[in-house]
Symmetry: C2
Subunit: 285 residues, 2 copies
Amino acid sequence: MSTVGIVGLGLIGGSMAVDLRARGYASKLVGTDRNPLNASAACRLGLVDREVSLEECVSESDLIVVSVPVSAATDMLQRILDMFKEGNYTEKVVIDVCSTKAQIAERLKYHPCRKRYVATHPMAGTEHCGPWAAMPGLFDGRACIIADQEESDASAVREVEEMYKTLNMRIVYMNSDSHDVHTAYVSHLSHVTSFALALTVLDKEKDEKHIFDLASGGFSSTVRLAKSNADMWVPILTQNHDNVLQVMDTYIEKMKAFREAVASYDEDKIRELITEANKIKKILR
Amino acid sequence: MSTVGIVGLGLIGGSMAVDLRARGYASKLVGTDRNPLNASAACRLGLVDREVSLEECVSESDLIVVSVPVSAATDMLQRILDMFKEGNYTEKVVIDVCSTKAQIAERLKYHPCRKRYVATHPMAGTEHCGPWAAMPGLFDGRACIIADQEESDASAVREVEEMYKTLNMRIVYMNSDSHDVHTAYVSHLSHVTSFALALTVLDKEKDEKHIFDLASGGFSSTVRLAKSNADMWVPILTQNHDNVLQVMDTYIEKMKAFREAVASYDEDKIRELITEANKIKKILR
């Protein structure tokens, strides 16, 4: 049983808190958030036992989870590893849960306490945010990436694996660069295509009633990610800049190929594109 | 209580059959499908009481539902209205359930039995097809468009309204041209963006295991429509050619605006685009 400190009491940090307590991994939970509203809500919702300062969070916790947007996470991780050094903490572990990994890895590479940091990315979430969005079971059955595990102490990795197994996550190992390429395809691009879909429909359907009336399940599911918030996604898209651009370019080419097939009434080509796209069935269950 | 004839025993026709029987609208159901496998499966699954010829389907039924892809529907509707004329049937009603409306409307415009046809589009479905995909409750709470209702007999429209109310659908009235514009935005475009997303990911992620491992709920929901079948979607995209092209062009522009913002690390612009896209929240529940 460990004391877990949550830095950033939003959807991800809050949902981890719920299940780590309920499933007996955490005996005590403390938390901090730069937004006092989030912090006090997280206490009132019972996500953490106490709101603490960052310093208390680090000194009281065995495992510190940094669940803030990636733009803030790099500085925060460095600060916490500095505290590890100053406090001569050799048993504590800090993790982040960010959607991009390479820039953070680069920044922390030579930190003397680097080995007490484990880079993780639990691939779960909803389009909602804040401690009010926290929910039990969010991580069950989903994949969690541990990046660059050879850069961390084996004991630190083991502790983190145990924590994620408590959350019922399937752990996948890869290096930071591979992580950023793969997530550009299976996560970041889906968000951008949803944002663009929402923008297109909002642009044209000035009469909102018709969207509401006609939006079928298909549209709703395709556009769902367009509800995702800018604080999280602006830094992801800029930090994973090169991969995201490459993926967007490929995507725009595919859209143009589709456009040309439709423009020229080329039914064979449209059929070929759809049949090829259908292969996604084999991969998703 | 009516006898309902289903022409095309797939997901839509089959699901209508299930609820029209269960909810007491249809006392008898007959059906026909050019694919004998579908027809016999529909009988074995209990969707219809008997497989019949098209001629029997028309002569035995009070309401005939044409639920075949839009490429086949126009000829089929014309043939059935010809039978109405030959048989001097003035009480029977035929409907289609196609996703495009303007071309059909144009073709049937001057048919002497035009008034016994009601153009409808129940906006419900799944990415699966065939009689095995039929399910109860598919239409509950969804929108159903009745197009050009002034072109049909009031008695025919009333009958069709009653049938769709049995399916718990919200009825929306508009003309064929408006229908085709709106559905290009809220339905056809979502399908194309999903197809393009699947193509992009399949193209790059040769290592299928990673897609499977990493595909989160977000990716799955965004790409779900890419499982939709070509027989249905090739004719929709070509029949609604002009609207679909215009919508795709707007969409490609939005993607390019996003791309430029990411390419130039313009965080303010990315934030502006995401915040604008978030407005879709107000429209969807």
